[in-house]
């Protein structure tokens, strides 16, 4: 291991469709692929369109960091080592694709139909260190007031 690597752990996104730019003036963002033939949008890369079967070429799309809650559950029983309960939502993004996300800023003890359609904003957070000592970075969401 080089001196440099030991001093500076890498920031690895937890999923391939989260990009952490090298440019310090830019923010991490979710990205997807748009089918030019039918307009369907997918998270991350595609070999072909899952809707119409077109094999591309495709258009890469930078996805918004704001979306809204479509539906949710509040997970109480989960795997060891995870904090529970957590609000696990399906978040619709304006580009026409959805993403799974934990949502913060809601009271897990009082799930409510008022949560439908709530606007949320993405942020990133280190959630663990991987076996090689790198930071594992996840996209999370908080409610916009």
């Amino acid at each position: 291991m080089t001196q440099e690597a030991a001093a500076e752990p890498k920031q690895n996104p937890i999923v391939p469709f989260l990009r952490i730019p090298d440019d310090p003036n830019d923010q991490p963002y979710l990205w997807g692929t748009k089918c030019k033939a039918c307009g369907a949008v997918f998270l991350g890369e595609r070999v072909a369109c899952g809707k119409c079967g077109d094999t591309g070429p495709f258009e890469e799309v930078r996805l918004s960091d704001e979306g809204e809650i479509y539906v949710f559950s509040v997970v109480h029983q989960t795997v060891p080592g995870l904090e529970a309960p957590y609000v696990a939502a399906i978040i619709d993004l304006p580009e026409g694709v959805s993403v799974r996300g934990n949502v913060y800023g809601l009271d897990p003890a009082n799930p409510s139909p008022e949560w439908f359609g709530k606007k949320v904003k993405m942020y990133t957070e280190k959630v663990r260190t991987d076996r090689e000592g790198n930071d594992v970075i996840a996209a999370k969401f908080r409610v916009l007031n």
Binding site: V15, Y70, Q77, A88, I90, S98, R100, N102, P113, V136
Partner: protein, 378 residues
């Protein structure tokens, strides 16, 4: 395609069998089904074995080594929770196609107390569980129920009523893992697993096996004067939807299977005597009332509220107690719910018998997704 009869079938009581291995459980069910049919393993020309966790270890052939390794074709089938019913369909197609006259479907699973399905993956460094939403079944089916709340204003109580009904039915099913009645208060106040599903609204894991013997019409006559018939066998995968696979779509895959099955059988939902549907969670059962056409869209809450899906109601659903009570040993489930329908059609369902049952529907869904629907008639 030829007509196919179910001539024999049985299941083991689902539960925990720490002293038996899964091959033994499957062998017990297979021998039971052969005896019920009045034939032996030597009459069977093809075997389809459904098992989720042992299919990569040739469990079908291992079962045959226990019960009679006759050298016939054996296929090992896996299709998530629809594994057993997909194996049944392979056996059905083998006979319907004219290739074989006698086929056997075996479904088996040994899960022990393995807990949350898919949970082991969350130990990996790059698992997204609990940090980017959920992929665990309780949360996924929680969200499916919450979608119904969003569309129609359904309340947690409506889903809880499903659990009350199925546990009430289970009291009369000696094959159910749990045979306990619970009140609406019990269900609503039980430990929350993933909102809105509490403990009693989630099916247990366990061990079990079931088997069925299928025959051509000509062959069936040699064994029974009263066979029951496979009127429809449908299998679908989930088509593209805007939020799928980010949010698993258990609705469309069921609706397309139901449409195909009703067309094959030449009947509609109003002609059914009873239904065994895939209530892995209470939320799932409620939305499937609509997906199977048992009531109109948005009417599922009223449907359960009126008592329509109770034994003695307009269209009994899960007279067995459903997966919520009966248990859900993955590979065994799909064969077992077909056998349950067969027992009702024969008038052999004891205290839970649906009176004068003539035609039943068995529905299974495997997340990912696969949906099977079989319509069985006298």
């Amino acid at each position: 395609m030829r007509d196919v009869a179910i001539v024999g079938g049985t299941m083991l009581k689902f539960g925990r069998y720490p002293d038996k291995d899964v091959v033994r459980l499957a062998a017990d069910a297979a021998i039971g089904a052969l005896k019920d049919a009045g034939c032996t393993i030597n009459d069977v020309e093809m075997v389809a074995s459904g098992n989720l966790y042992q299919s990569n270890a040739m469990i079908g052939q291992r079962i045959m080594k226990e019960i009679g390794a006759t050298g016939v074709p054996v296929v090992n089938v896996t299709n998530a929770c629809a594994t057993g019913s997909t194996a049944f369909r392979e056996a059905y197609l083998a006979v319907a196609s004219g290739m074989y006259d006698v086929a056997m479907a075996i479904g088996s699973e040994q899960m022990g107390k393995m807990g949350l399905l898919g949970a082991e993956g969350a130990n990996r460094d790059y698992s997204t569980e609990g940090v980017m939403g959920t992929g665990l079944m309780p949360g996924v089916f929680g969200q499916a129920g919450v979608e119904h709340m969003r569309k129609y204003g359904t309340k947690m109580e409506h889903f809880a009523k499903v659990s009350v009904k199925n546990h009430k039915h289970s009291v009369h099913n000696p094959y159910a893992q749990y045979q306990v009645e619970v009140s609406l208060e019990d269900v609503m106040n039980a430990r929350m697993i993933a909102w809105p599903n509490t403990l009693y609204m989630c099916c247990p894991t366990g061990d079990g096996a079931a088997a069925a013997v299928l025959m051509s019409a000509e062959k069936a006559k040699q064994y029974t004067a009263k066979p029951v018939w496979v009127a429809a066998s449908a299998l679908t995968s989930d088509p593209w939807q805007e939020r799928n696979p980010i949010m698993f779509d258990v609705n469309t895959v069921t609706r397309t299977a139901a449409k195909q099955a009703y067309e094959q059988a030449g009947i509609g939902p109003e002609d059914l005597s009873q239904v065994e549907l895939h209530d892995c969670f209470a939320t799932a059962e409620l939305i499937h009332y609509e997906n199977l056409g048992l009531c109109g869209d948005g009417e599922a809450g009223e449907f359960i509220g009126r008592g329509d899906p109770y034994i003695g109601g307009r269209i009994p659903v899960n007279a067995s107690g459903g997966l919520l009570s009966k248990g859900h040993p993955l590979g065994a489930t799909g064969v077992a719910n077909i056998v349950e329908i067969v027992w009702h059609l024969r008038g052999q369902a004891g205290g839970r018998q649906v009176e004068n049952s003539k035609v039943g529907l068995a529905h299974v869904i495997g997340l990912g997704s696969a949906c099977t629907i079989h319509i069985i008639k006298k």
